[in-house]
Point group: C4
Chain length 122, copies 4
């Protein structure tokens, strides 16, 4: 299925600075969940926008054909780690159509909170 869009936007990216959970599942995180329904691999470039400095990136990933990848901003390392407790935004570009959903898990307090939305296809 050749479905989806080649560019997606998430204006509200934020990595909470603390967690009450200790396992990877319960660490506070902001994730972008990407589905590639095509029969060719998708080469992804992610750019981060900040409130007070130049954009950073691109962060590069591959999502193979007929696969999904759930990426977490707090695990990005190249070209640079992503700061915690900072407001930023994100643009995801791909050479093949993909579908992108944005999900945050925040476990700073004694019970986790979740939020999700489809990213904006631009």
């Amino acid at each position: 299925m050749n479905i989806g869009n080649k560019r997606w936007v998430i204006p509200d990216v934020y990595i909470p600075a603390a967690s009450t959970g200790e396992s990877r599942e319960l660490i506070s995180h902001d994730a972008i969940c990407i589905l590639n329904c095509n029969t060719q691999d998708a080469h992804i470039e992610i750019t981060l926008y900040f409130s007070d400095r130049e954009p950073a990136g691109p962060y590069r990933f591959i999502v193979e054909a007929l696969r999904t990848r759930h990426l977490r901003f707090n695990e990005f390392t190249d070209p640079a780690p992503v700061p915690h407790n900072t407001d930023y935004a994100s643009v995801i570009e791909s050479d093949a159509p993909i579908i992108v959903q944005h999900t945050r898990l925040d476990s700073r307090q004694s019970a986790l909170a979740l939020m999700t939305t489809m990213a904006y296809p631009a």
Copy 2:
């Protein structure tokens, strides 16, 4: 009303591996809520996409004319149960227009968390 779309995508599907609630209402779950406003039944096929293996499915359901069904991935059995604590994605296809919303209830910690979004009409 002949409204909706015949294909919908949810990139972020995930079934939390634990729950603090005991009743069915409070068990951690990922649900797809489907509305069929048409006067004919909708025959639904759901395909699951994973990060590291071939897609699974189709899972087949009927949503009758003028009815809604709220399906939970953790209750799927045919052709195979859906693994917990695993990242996957989902494509919902129907022979009649439907509308699909994705909702997760996560009760792993001491108070439940909720998230929801409209699925992506593809």
Copy 3:
């Protein structure tokens, strides 16, 4: 501003059967938040769809010109109250363009949960 859409769909409506909060603000509820940016009043009709019986309604409301109304399903009374702990769905129709957002507050456990999405413009 003559903006918005005359029909909106919410497939996942559900009123939790219990609450830990006692004030109206903290009672578990499912709300539809409607904005009418037009200079004429909007006459709204809401129909509810169930999993196992005929649709109910219409529930009628007016959203005045240049006003917002945040309606809660658990406060609907005419033509009939809405059952709790039941899966249903909702279609909102208006004679003037409106914008509709769906928000649930669930306070069954010891800390509230929230979820929201824009309704689907059909």
Copy 4:
């Protein structure tokens, strides 16, 4: 990138009247997160709509080229502060294309809740 839309709508704006957190990060708030991917600054005007009185505003902000801003309604001051525990709605207008996401953090009870959605491009 000249992407986005010049008008966005958020029907469900609400500032919870209390918080359990004490830091700015954990104060209950409703935020609009704006991304400006363009190479020109975006001049933003926000109008608030209420259930029982005339609209208020405009609240004016600038989002510089290639920057994001995460604004909180409870920090608005000019032309007037925004009341807490009141139902309202919001229209965001810009002279350059932007992308807008709406996020609420509610820490009234002992663990915070989150919700988010893309605003409606009108």
